[in-house]
């Protein structure tokens, strides 16, 4: 790694090896009352806005949601896509930048991967909420029913189950294996119960050349396997829609559209999380101008691709000029009840990010926080618009209807953010949120010859 990049990575000068250990482990072990307050609030919100309405829905039945005979899919499904999408950037950022040896990733990737894992969990929760009868959720798994009839592997819903289970497994393994040496560092720096817990968690890691060698190889394999996996997961999610014949959903561009949107909203999510880590966990020394600048450039490129795909979608509809597709598009952007959400999404995800052409905006953390949240609001509504403006308008007018989310659905949507926050807050006290050994790799190597030269 070049010394120029090394200088750029740390705004306040590079720390020493021992300081990296101290800072990261301190953030893990020192817990202020503010942390407990935040955790308490977010856990209560999760309980009140997510768990409680869910229990209510389980008791009275899925009719508590606004979904109906015409619109079988609603907010739950659009939130499911949103959370799955949010999960993409973590893995992709981490794995792609690992393969391309982009060293600036090293201080942010751990939290990005955690974001992946927890947004996946939140997404999985939405599947359970959506199916209504939670106790039959195993019907989605590849196991036979009592009559020995197996689920249909030709169905996109089945692809989805396989893809998401694989993704959940792979991203858990990916983040855990990458953290092993850091668990060992926490073990060495602590006493008592914490020491014993981390001694188990780190599998007795000692950092021998053999262990590093094996970890390096395995980690690269994980990265290589996870990249095509992440791309496949959101493509498959898009086929849940695109493989139907519903106008407005039956589009070949959906797979790249979803994957691009996923990375886009995920990168915005990472910016939000990084702001929090800097502000509340004291990682300002490790996450600096270089990171926000690079992340913002990535956001800018993704927003342009996203805009392009949106134009393509409209263009293909116009060019094909079939009455069903024309009506679907017109309903989505002009005549339907949610036309304003479509324009909001365009404003938030296509126009606001154009600000990122300016370096001064890119390097302004507070402004980037606002922009990243705005982008994710836009992406959340994008998914809602896709679901809510297509399914209630299939071919025949006698199945036309409208969909509007019920209070239960709105509350669960709000609550899901609290669920994610709670999980993430627990994460930062269990995992070292910045990778200790990989940050050290970016520091000047401890060499005698270079030091004397």
């Amino acid at each position: 790694m070049s010394s120029v990049l090394r200088k750029q990575m740390f705004d306040h000068g590079p720390p020493s090896y021992a300081e990296v250990n101290r800072d990261v482990i301190n953030a893990l072990t020192t817990t202020t009352w503010r942390y407990w307050l935040t955790l308490g609030i977010s856990a209560s919100v999760a309980l009140l806005f997510f768990i409680a309405p869910w229990i209510y829905q389980i008791i009275v039945g899925v009719g508590a949601a606004g979904m109906n005979r015409n619109a079988m899919w609603g907010t739950y499904l659009s939130n499911f896509i949103f959370w799955i999408g949010l999960s993409h950037s973590g893995t992709l950022l981490s794995a792609v930048l690992h393969i391309t040896q982009s060293d600036w990733r090293k201080s942010i990737y751990r939290s990005a991967e955690a974001m992946t894992l927890f947004s996946l969990m939140t997404a999985a929760l939405f599947v359970m909420v959506h199916v209504g009868r939670l106790w039959f959720v195993h019907w989605t798994f590849p196991v036979p029913n009592p009559m020995e009839l197996w689920p249909n592997f030709r169905s996109p819903l089945m692809f989805d189950v396989m893809a998401i289970l694989t993704y959940l497994t792979a991203s858990s393994v990916f983040i855990y294996m990458g953290s092993l040496p850091d668990f060992a560092a926490v073990r060495d720096a602590s006493k008592g119960l914490r020491r014993r817990i981390y001694a188990v968690l780190c599998f007795g890691w000692r950092g021998t050349a053999q262990e590093w060698h094996t970890l390096g190889w395995s980690y690269t394999f994980f990265a290589v396997l996870v990249i095509p996996l992440a791309v496949s997961v959101h493509s498959i999610v898009s086929w849940d829609f695109a493989m139907s014949t519903v106008p407005g959903l039956h589009q070949t561009i959906f797979a790249p559209y979803f994957v691009c949107g996923a990375i886009y909203s995920g990168t915005a999510g990472i910016v939000t999380v990084m702001w929090m880590l800097r502000r509340y966990m004291g990682f300002g020394r490790y996450i600096g101008k270089l990171h926000i600048d690079n992340l913002s450039k990535l956001l800018l490129v993704l927003s342009l691709i996203w805009t392009y795909i949106n134009i393509c979608e409209l263009f293909t509809a116009w060019y094909a000029d079939t009455s069903f597709e024309n009506e679907a598009i017109l309903y989505r952007i002009w005549e339907g009840p949610f036309w304003w959400l479509w324009w909001e999404m365009i404003a938030f995800c296509a126009f606001v990010p154009l600000l990122l052409f300016s370096r001064r905006i890119r390097q302004n953390w507070n402004l980037m926080l606002v922009i990243s949240i705005v982008i994710n609001i836009g992406m959340l509504t994008e998914r809602f618009v896709i679901v809510a403006s297509s399914l209630p308008r299939k071919f025949l007018p006698d199945v036309f209807g409208t969909y509007f989310p019920s209070l239960v659905e709105i509350s669960i949507t709000v609550g899901s953010f609290a669920v994610f926050t709670t999980l993430f807050l627990l994460f930062v006290k269990i995992f070292p949120a910045v990778s200790i050994y990989e940050v050290k790799e970016t520091l000047a190597p401890l060499r005698k010859r270079e030091a004397s030269a």
């Binding site: 396989m162 497994t169 393994v173 950092g207 994980f222 496949s232 050994y437």
Partner: protein
């Protein structure tokens, strides 16, 4: 008895490891706070056998995933609209996912087997080697011979530890 030599610099530690191997001492371990990619040759590490696990797992996943689809579809024939019972495009998607799933799990297994983990027992270790020191541990009979070499290679300090 185990000999633990501590180094402040990675190049001296790697140099010491190379010197040990040159003198025929093979029974040693090099601990470092960061992966030392250039040290692999000095401690005698080449391509990792983990890749065999990954390949085997991925192949097993590919065959297994496809077999799962075909086998389950032929247990109870459900023809729909004249579509093939064994349909390649959707089954290849399932195959794709299971290839990755078993590839990942086998790599994990490979990591544990090749890295000889988990090992929840007391072994020669200095916590400083996970902060900013490089430690070489020589075990057994060669410890006496090794002390000279390690000192000559610039060890900061050398400690003896009786194996438990």
């Amino acid at each position: 008895m185990t000999l633990l030599a501590s180094f402040a610099h990675e190049d001296t530690a790697v140099g010491a490891a190379a010197a040990l191997r040159e003198k025929g001492v093979e029974d040693f371990e090099l601990f470092s706070p960061i992966p030392l990619h250039h040290a692999d040759a000095a401690v005698g590490l080449g391509k990792s056998p983990v890749r065999v696990f990954t390949l085997a797992g991925a192949l097993l996943g590919a065959v297994g995933g496809f077999a799962l689809c075909v086998w389950t579809a032929t247990r109870f024939l459900l023809p729909t609209a004249g579509r093939p019972i064994i349909a390649l495009p959707p089954y290849l998607l399932i195959t794709y996912e299971t290839t990755i799933l078993l590839g990942v799990l086998a790599t994990l297994l490979g990591f544990f087997v090749v890295g000889r983990l988990p090992a929840w027992k007391d072994r020669a270790y200095r916590p400083a080697s996970n902060v900013d020191r490089f430690v070489i541990a020589v075990a057994g009979a060669s410890a006496g011979q090794a002390e000279e070499i390690l000192r000559a290679s610039g060890a900061e300090s050398i400690e003896r530890e009786n194996a438990s």
